[in-house]
């Protein structure tokens, strides 16, 4: 196990290096002149040349890449020209809100998918057959509907038509001024027992979470369902049945072998949510990293955008690492042969 962890961690270094390289290359795609874009079209030629020298844009690319890596190592991702703050500070300020949103959605998604998938997979009666039909159509629909469009429908239904939700703007009523500890309003208001803020926050949280859950539960539900089916149909289940093992024990064995694919997909889906939250945040003005990224695109704020892309990719890489380690822990074959991915 230790050898496997060591090998897997060693892989992380070149992977992180490549991610830095790709995110560095992104800004080199910028058409025209980076300095000119920053100063605006009214700037003089001398001013542009001056800024080019200051930014080191005339150096060879490997020198620029070296400086970029050096910056990352020191926590310097450049300065956003829209907020005027270091990009890392901007992101650190907004990340808790985003992570809270996707984590809450993720927990609800997994709970729903596991409950419905297991019940559907383990019981056979008229009700679950109808349920299968419904879940087929639901999956087909959830996979075809754009998340931002669904978010808007949710707003239209629950804010405009049936005004049961609060205005879908921000994370809590702006009249409040809650204490900031972690940056996640949910955690902070729970820790400080600030109930008015907590309720206001839950009011604001419910619609974006509903959007993410509706769109993203379907593929996990189908996966849970099919891997439970697979392991119930497998040879060892038949053997267990033939040997007269009690049903409870058979289900236990089946679940254990259905677990690894479910964990992989769950992890992959957490990284999908990182991207999926972008548009949902935009619709609900959530004020997290996703909305920051959209603003960066709209304002041609490349340092900010580069920072978001880099950190999002690094986060995904860490999630993949966790998946692999969990796999090795659950499935002894992985430890020996060195990974399934």
């Amino acid at each position: 196990m230790i050898k496997f962890i060591g090998k897997r961690l060693a892989l992380l270094v070149p992977q992180m290096f490549l991610i830095c390289l790709v995110s560095f290359l992104l800004t080199r795609l910028t058409p025209g002149n980076q300095a000119r874009a920053q100063l605006g079209s009214s700037a003089t030629e001398e001013a542009v040349a001056q800024l080019e020298r200051e930014l080191g844009l005339n150096d060879p690319w490997y020198a620029q890449f070296g400086r970029y890596l050096d910056g990352i190592a020191h926590g310097d991702l450049g300065t956003s020209w829209t907020t005027g703050q270091p990009v890392l500070d901007d992101i650190a300020q907004r990340a808790p809100a985003t992570l809270e949103l996707i984590s809450v959605a993720f927990v609800i998604m997994m709970a729903l998918a596991l409950t419905l998938g297991l019940v559907g997979g383990l019981t056979r009666n008229a009700l679950t057959r109808v349920g299968d039909k419904i879940s087929y159509f639901y999956s087909l629909m959830a996979g075809a509907v754009p998340d931002f469009w669904f978010g808007m429908i949710v707003v239209f239904l629950f804010y405009y038509t049936f005004p049961i939700a609060v205005a879908p703007i921000g994370q809590y009523d702006q009249a409040f001024d809650p204490a900031v500890i972690t940056g996640s309003v949910l955690v902070d208001s729970l820790v400080t027992l600030d109930l008015p803020v907590l309720f206001s926050h839950l009011d604001h949280l419910i619609l974006p979470v509903l959007t993410l859950v509706f769109i993203n539960t379907a593929p996990i539900l189908r996966m849970v369902r099919s891997s439970v089916d697979d392991s119930l149909k497998s040879g060892y289940t038949t053997l267990a049945k033939a040997n007269g093992l009690p049903q409870r024990q058979i289900v236990g064995y089946a679940l254990r072998s259905a677990l690894p694919p479910i964990i992989t997909l769950a992890g992959v889906w957490y990284t999908v949510l990182i991207a999926g939250a972008v548009l949902t945040e935009q619709i609900f003005s959530w004020g997290g990293v996703g909305q920051y990224a959209v603003q960066a695109v709209q304002n041609a704020d490349w340092s900010a955008l580069q920072g978001v892309v880099l950190l999002a990719a690094l986060l995904s890489l860490l999630v993949y690492l966790v998946i692999d380690l969990l796999h090795a822990w659950i499935d002894p074959r992985v430890r020996v042969t060195g990974g399934t991915r």
Binding site: A144, D147, F148, M152, V272, Q282, V297, W302
Partner: protein
């Protein structure tokens, strides 16, 4: 001449009436029919659309009526005509982008899967890294930087989707390379290139086609998403995402029609491609069960 034609006539042929196809593989039949309708609408848009999709035809934000079936948007454009014209650009972007992604990814995956040791390992590790970049954020970022023109959008779709095909083909090659017919081809003197193109690729077509149908749908959603945030196509282009983005504010104040209609048609289009994909997979499974 008569002899030849009589031979070809006397050959036993499996009769496949549309009804039996519908029964055997309803997903494929319904999906293909729906995709056919979308294609027909795209081709016939100038005939079907009552108005010019990019010209102001009346007052802004009229509710749906006999004159304007889907109402008008906040600039006074006819929503129905725009919805009809949109598949032209959406299918073009998604179709060409998907095709390029497959052309880029499949050979790469085959190479990675067939090449021994180091090269294969290297390619698959690089793919890991590219796939670590969240799909939508990467696409949005690339388009923000290079600008949301039609060729750029196609290029970005190809780049962000190519790893999916490389990975798929990698898996296929790994599975098939140890099968007897591949061994047979190898011992009878086929070069690696021949083995890949004549034996492994044809046997991987079904999953590739199924994936392409999924990518087509996902690309439509992606194009709509980037256009929605302003990194893709721009108004007044008749594209579903542009329309939804342009009318988004109306959902807070009750003007639902310029948002709902393009979204419903978009979702139905993506759904048809998903059905085709499910249908291909089902047909392939049925074929391999028959042996």
């Amino acid at each position: 001449m008569t002899a030849i034609s009589s031979i070809s006539k006397s050959r036993p042929r499996v009769k496949r009436s549309p009804k039996s196809v519908l029964k055997r593989n309803p997903q494929l039949a319904i999906g293909l029919a729906a995709v056919g309708i979308v294609l027909a609408v795209a081709v016939l848009a100038p005939v079907l659309a009552p108005h010019d999709p990019e010209r102001v035809v009346g007052p802004a934000l009229l509710e749906p009526s006999a004159e304007y079936w889907f109402g008008t948007d906040r600039s006074g454009l006819d929503v129905f005509s725009r919805v009809i014209y949109a598949p032209r650009i959406d299918l073009l972007l998604a179709g060409v982008g998907t095709l390029l992604a497959a052309l880029l990814g499949v050979p790469l995956g085959a190479l990675a899967g067939y090449a021994p040791g180091f090269v294969g390992e290297l390619i698959s590790r690089v793919l890991d890294v590219v796939q670590a970049f969240p799909f939508f954020i990467l696409a949005m970022c690339l388009l923000g930087i290079v600008g949301g023109t039609v060729p750029n959008i196609i290029a970005v779709l190809a780049v962000v989707n190519a790893p999916i095909y490389a990975r798929l083909m990698f898996g296929q090659t790994q599975t098939l390379r140890n099968r007897t017919f591949v061994d047979a081809a190898r011992v009878s003197g086929c070069r690696p290139r021949q083995v890949i193109f004549a034996h492994i690729l044809p046997n991987s077509m079904a999953p590739i086609l199924a994936q392409m149908s999924v990518t087509l749908g996902m690309s439509i959603i992606l194009v709509a998403g980037v256009s929605f945030v302003g990194a893709g196509l721009r108004p007044p282009t008749a594209e579903w995402g542009v329309m939804i983005g342009d009318a988004a504010g109306g959902m807070f104040t009750g003007q639902w029609w310029p948002v709902i209609f393009p979204g419903v048609v978009l979702a139905l289009t993506v759904m048809s491609f998903a059905l085709v994909s499910n249908g291909i997979t089902a047909a392939n499974e049925a074929r391999s069960r028959r042996g």
